[in-house]
């Protein structure tokens, strides 16, 4: 296996060539180390699922011994992917999993998880957990100082109301505090204008992957790019960061540096 790509690849099967290729483009930007192979549309470029294109994409993704998670859009894309696997070499089939996941969100979540060199089951879980994106918002324990942002709600669609208190980040960064139970805790103010949007969320997941630690931001799993994005955290919000594990302190220190640097966006 070459080092260029993570051990788990993605195959994106859509009825539309444009949708498959566009989703691969978005996911690749957030996870450049993952082999992402789009298989969209029919052989002549129309809408549909092509047995041959899906088969070629699966062979492409799994050659060199990689595993692959397949994300599909509508019914016949699923049927086609299954039919392809029916006829493939069993040794390849054993390394492939079909994800029951929303197409774009599942692809992005799986790609970011795969980028951290996660194993097949973990990447599959990440894709399938993306369905929670459409569920009720998870409780958020952090405190928002941006008056315009509803706690736990989605990110504001338009420009945030101009609130003088939120215009300048407050100096509340506390540094890393070790709790009685051995876990660590820190708070940090988001500095970059767009807050925790897709790019910094993916950056956090990828940066934390090598650490032997479980990290939460405002109570959500910092290994999940979608959960981080769902926080809807904007500039001026105080993030509460908690972590457990042998490298919890180092992981949080590193995260504080990235937050303070505004993820390179300030």
């Amino acid at each position: 296996m070459t080092d260029r790509w993570a051990p788990v690849a993605l195959v994106l099967v859509s009825h539309s060539r444009a949708l498959a290729e566009g989703t691969a483009e978005v996911a690749a930007q957030m996870a450049p180390g993952v082999r992402i192979v789009p298989a969209g549309g029919t052989d002549d470029g129309g809408l549909g699922a092509s047995f041959d294109r899906v088969g070629a994409a699966l062979r492409d993704a799994t050659d060199d011994g990689r595993s692959a998670v397949v994300v599909t859009d509508l019914g016949s894309a699923v049927l086609t992917a299954e039919a392809v696997l029916d006829l493939m070499d069993e040794r390849v089939v054993a390394r492939v999993r079909l994800a029951d996941a929303p197409f774009v969100e599942g692809a992005v979540a799986a790609a970011v998880t795969a980028h951290g060199k996660a194993d097949l089951a973990t990447v599959l879980d990440s894709a399938q957990a993306a369905a929670d994106t459409f569920g009720p918002a998870r409780p958020v324990s952090g405190t928002s100082v941006a008056a315009g942002a509803a706690v736990g709600g989605p990110a504001p669609a338009g420009p945030a109301p101009v609130v003088p208190a939120a215009a300048e980040p407050r100096p509340v960064d506390t540094g890393v505090v070790t709790q009685d139970d051995g876990s660590v805790r820190a708070t940090a103010v988001l500095r970059n204008p767009l807050g925790l949007h897709a790019r910094p969320a993916a950056l956090i997941v990828r940066m934390l992957a090598p650490f032997d630690a479980k990290v939460q931001v405002d109570g959500v799993n910092a290994a999940s790019v979608l959960d981080l994005m769902k926080l809807g955290a904007v500039r001026g919000d105080v993030l509460t960061i908690t972590a457990q594990g042998p490298q919890a302190g180092e992981a949080v220190e590193r995260l504080l540096v990235d937050v303070a640097a505004g993820f390179g966006e300030v």
Binding site: T42, D43, G46, L47, G48, A49, S50, F51, D52, G75, S76, L79, T80, E82, A83, D86, L87
Partner: protein, 213 residues
């Protein structure tokens, strides 16, 4: 009386002819409760199968060889759900029809394998207003005919009758699988296009067998 590879080739050619003849009808049925591409997709697929048969250097040796060629070609050329569904049906049937000649029991095993493939791939049950509603009574009628000592051609004739009755019975059903299920109650009152194409293909099988008698 047994059925051989020549029968299977004739079945495929008759299937292609009847699908082409009923192309517009299938398009219209699918337009009413689906996305309107079933007739066009299936016609394109069977034309490709016939082109492959025409291009073979030597005639296929077994029923299984013919059905495998149909399976792989339909999977590659039929878009939508029909490609993998029919493809899997023919693929499973090809594995059961590997013998050079099929008796009545062989025909029943082939039809059962095809139905099993469709059910496995589509996860539909009888009554969901799908292809399964044509194939299920077709297989039941074939089993019954074979149990009564019917020759292969009569077994296929029984299967064709079963498929015709099963397809007609999909009209009042409310779809619960596939694109038509998006319509809910509004899918009632329409013949299911997949059940209708299944009927056409099984009628072609019976006609090819009758011609071979």
């Amino acid at each position: 009386m047994t059925l051989d590879a020549a029968w299977a080739v004739d079945w495929v050619r008759r299937s292609a002819a009847t699908v082409a003849e009923h192309r517009d009808e299938l398009v219209e049925l699918d337009r009413q409760i689906g996305d309107g591409d079933h007739g066009e997709n299936l016609d394109r697929g069977f034309r490709a199968v016939v082109a492959k048969l025409d291009g073979l250097d030597a005639p296929p040796a077994s029923v299984g060889d013919v059905l495998r060629l149909v399976a792989t070609t339909l999977m590659s050329t039929v878009g939508g759900a029909a490609g993998p569904l029919y493809g899997t049906a023919y693929l499973r049937a090809s594995k059961s029809g590997a013998a050079t000649e099929l008796g009545a029991d062989g025909v029943v095993a082939m039809l059962e394998a095809a139905l099993d493939g469709i059910v496995t791939r589509g996860r539909a049950n009888a009554g969901d207003k799908t292809m399964v509603d044509a194939w299920t009574p077709a297989v039941a009628a074939a089993v019954d005919a074979a149990d009564h000592g019917a020759p292969p051609s009569a077994v296929l004739a029984a299967a064709a009758r079963g498929a015709r009755e099963g397809a007609a019975a999909t009209v009042p059903l409310v779809a619960s699988k596939g694109r038509a299920s998006y319509l809910g109650e509004r899918s009632a009152g329409h013949l299911d296009p997949g059940a209708r194409s299944s009927e056409l293909i099984l009628v072609a099988a019976a006609e090819a067998a009758a011609a071979a008698d």
